[in-house]
């Protein structure tokens, strides 16, 4: 009995060190001390993630620039976190659910959602520019961790419907301190809901470093207490992210319940344009992480294998540039929002009180138009 119990506990343990398949130079590394075997993704998938990361980064830089031009109210950059956002997203199917936060713009672009719809929330023309049901993608969540419980419920709902669909839910390191994180893990585990909780540990919650966020040796260890299998991965290693996602998805799809991934990565930019990151971290620290660039890493591997050449690199960057310029153009027009739409979606059918207010605003607008 003792042995069985130990085996069950051991099976939940994450690897003592983050899983890494490619080192920062792009050289393949032996898996040291990992609990499970992780297969190197094939070259085709690595080309795909490289390409999508190049596009994602260009999108991110463009969005940051749009903030400076006053086109976006705010933009939380995810530059440096490309392997996490792109890798996790491209691993799931269109019928799987995604539960993003406000920082997952790059993941949404990877999902195939029109970049201009991705930016609606931050531009301020709508709280969610895309159709969550049609895209199986929940509205970007601004409160921290609250969407994780929705992910558990949706995953359980899909399971009850007999459908083979998982939910991929993103959060950052700071959000693991919120109560809903713990309630979500517990619910998902108890109901064996097929959810992947993907924690992007980017080291800071605005200015608060991980050391002040938790005493846990790794965020992945938080899975064990809930009976959830967990893994930690080098979040700047695109190959490792794909490999760990494969294992997590297989785990979820085979009915074994939720999976927790802690991806160790770094937010190269400030929390948002409203934040001054120089107040809480050193330039040396940022530089050190620039050397662990996920795009350069997989690009080096692909080139060393003859899977990528300068022509393809140039063509892909041109494609990314064209996406950015297209986005710039489309964002240069002011969106028009009908003021009367204020009353449209409070309830399926407006209450008499809302109708009264609608009448008041309509009269105000008519008076303005006539003036």
């Amino acid at each position: 009995m003792q042995t069985t119990a130990n085996a069950a506990q051991q099976a939940l343990l994450p690897s003592p060190n983050p899983v890494q398949l490619l080192d920062p130079t792009g050289a393949e590394v032996e898996q040291h001390g990992t609990v499970r075997d992780y297969a190197m993704p094939d070259a085709g998938r690595l080309r795909q993630i490289w390409r999508q990361m190049v596009i994602g980064r260009r999108f991110d830089i463009q969005a940051t620039a749009l903030t400076k031009q006053g086109r976006l109210a705010v933009y939380p950059s995810s530059r440096g976190q490309e392997a996490c956002q792109v890798g996790a997203t491209m691993s799931i199917h269109p019928t799987d659910w995604m539960f993003p936060t406000y920082r997952e713009s790059m993941a949404l672009v990877t999902r195939g959602i029109d970049p201009i719809e991705v930016l609606s929330l931050l531009r301020g023309d709508s709280h969610c520019g895309y159709d969550p049901i049609a895209t199986h993608t929940a509205a970007q969540c601004t409160p921290l961790s609250t969407q994780l419980v929705h992910a558990a419920g949706a995953a359980y709902g899909e399971k009850r419907r007999g459908r083979d669909s998982v939910a991929l839910a993103f959060i950052g390191d700071g959000a693991t301190s919120e109560g809903d994180f713990h309630e979500a893990l517990n619910f998902a585990a108890v109901f064996e809901a097929p959810v992947i909780f993907f924690v992007q540990n980017n080291k800071y919650a605005i200015s608060v470093p991980l050391s002040k966020q938790t005493k846990a040796p790794a965020l992945a260890y938080k899975g064990i207490g809930y009976g959830i299998r967990a893994e930690q991965v080098d979040g700047n290693d695109p190959a490792a992210v794909l490999a760990v996602m494969d294992v997590a998805l297989e785990h979820c799809r085979s009915g074994k319940g939720p999976f927790l991934i802690e991806a160790h990565t770094y937010r190269l930019d400030a929390h948002t344009n409203a934040d001054d990151a120089t107040r809480y971290r050193s330039a040396d620290e940022v530089t050190a992480w620039l050397d662990r660039d996920p795009i350069a890493r997989v690009e080096a591997w692909l080139k060393s294998r003859g899977e990528l050449n300068d022509d393809i690199v140039a063509a892909t960057h041109a494609e990314a540039e064209s996406l950015a310029s297209d986005l710039r153009d489309r964002m240069n027009t002011d969106p028009t929002v009908d003021p009367m739409s204020l009353f449209d979606n409070v309830f399926a059918t407006p209450t008499p009180q809302l109708e009264q207010l609608r009448g008041m605003v309509q009269a105000e607008l008519s008076a303005e138009a006539q003036a």
């Binding site: 969550p132 419980v149 949706a154 709902g157 309630e183 619910f187 449209d344 409070v346 309830f347």
Partner: protein, 339 residues
């Protein structure tokens, strides 16, 4: 047949589960135990644990889980066990449940019901007797419903479950065991329709949920003193039935709003303001409120002092100054003779 409010609520859940496979009931203790108030009694037995099940003890989790299940087409009915126990779910309710239709431009509706046994009068210990309807009514996007008898409990709960929007269903605990002669299924007026529980010509008592029976008692007592009192039961706080309330007060010219919740910044204040705005020229006296005190809900031994009762309602009616010019310079209650 004689039906208790708790029996009517149980029947409404039963009939909804029967009528629609997507309806599911979950929460803490709702399965095997049948809920601490037995409102879900026998549902797990009849419909199986797939349709009525226990969850971990976590209110935010229960409500958030329900949101996720709505995304896959279910219609969850969740129980919060006690009013103040729902506060951990407040963020889920206000940030997501109330706003989901709006933040997704109408693409995601949340057809869920959050059942909240609320209010006092049962000798409950701390955190078991709050009147929390004001928090929910103050949040755009939530319908807030509170029945006062068994027939309405059945009818309004069925409608709440069928509603495409989230409904906070406030159940007055003190009335769970109140009995009524009624045939179920009962068909009553829908959301947004107040009903006149007692007609009268001198003053309108506007009230809801747990305070309705007390308001009716007060009206009877007032009759013996020659005051003909009308009692309006709101039934739904959101949507609010301005029409019935306004029509009644314009006819009687006097209005007292009766509610167990504290008066300051509450539903009673909202009703009083609306009546003042719309009935100003018909009013013979200011609109008064009789409500819970502005103190935390007290220990059971002080409950009677805290809760608005017949005497306070009668004092308020007296303060409406039947004859001559209203004189509101005095302090309420004791200073007024009702003779």
């Amino acid at each position: 047949m004689t039906v208790t409010m708790s029996g009517a609520l149980n029947a409404a859940l039963r009939d909804s589960l029967e009528a629609d496979d997507d309806v599911i009931v979950f929460g803490e203790d709702v399965g095997t135990l049948g809920g601490v108030f037995r409102i879900t009694d026998g549902l797990a037995e009849t419909f199986g644990e797939e349709r009525c099940f226990d969850t971990p003890l976590a209110e935010a989790g229960i409500v958030g889980f329900a949101i996720g299940m709505c995304l896959t087409g279910f219609r969850p009915v969740v129980e919060m066990q006690f009013d103040a126990f729902a506060y951990p779910a407040f963020e889920q309710i206000t940030s997501h449940v109330a706003k989901m239709r709006n933040r997704t431009s109408g693409r995601v509706g949340l057809p869920m019901v959050i059942r909240v046994p609320y209010a006092g009068g049962i000798g409950g210990v701390e955190h078991h007797c709050d009147s929390s309807e004001g928090y929910y009514a103050h949040t755009a996007g939530l319908k807030v419903v509170t029945p006062s008898d068994a027939a309405d409990a059945y009818s309004l709960l069925r409608e709440a479950i069928d509603d495409p929007d989230p409904v906070i269903f406030m159940e007055p605990k003190a009335l769970y065991w109140s009995k009524q002669d009624v045939e179920l299924p009962s068909q009553r007026p829908g959301f947004g329709e107040a009903v006149i529980r007692r007609t009268g010509s001198d003053v309108t008592l506007v009230t809801y949920g747990p305070s309705v029976p007390m308001a009716l008692q007060a009206a009877e007592a007032a009759a013996s003193e020659g005051w003909d009192v009308e009692v309006v039961d709101l039934r739904t706080i959101v949507p609010f039935d301005d029409e019935t309330v306004v029509e009644s007060v314009r006819r009687t010219g006097r209005c007292v709003v009766v509610s167990e919740a504290q008066g300051f910044a509450g539903v009673a204040g909202e009703v009083a303001a609306r009546v003042s705005e719309r009935c100003f020229h018909s009013l013979q006296a200011p609109v008064l409120r009789v409500s819970g005190l502005e103190t935390p809900y007290p220990a059971p031994m002080l409950e009677k002092t805290y809760l608005p009762g017949v005497e306070r309602v009668l004092d308020a009616i007296a303060r409406l100054q039947w004859d001559d010019v209203p004189d509101l310079s005095h302090e309420p209650a004791a200073a007024v003779s009702r003779g």
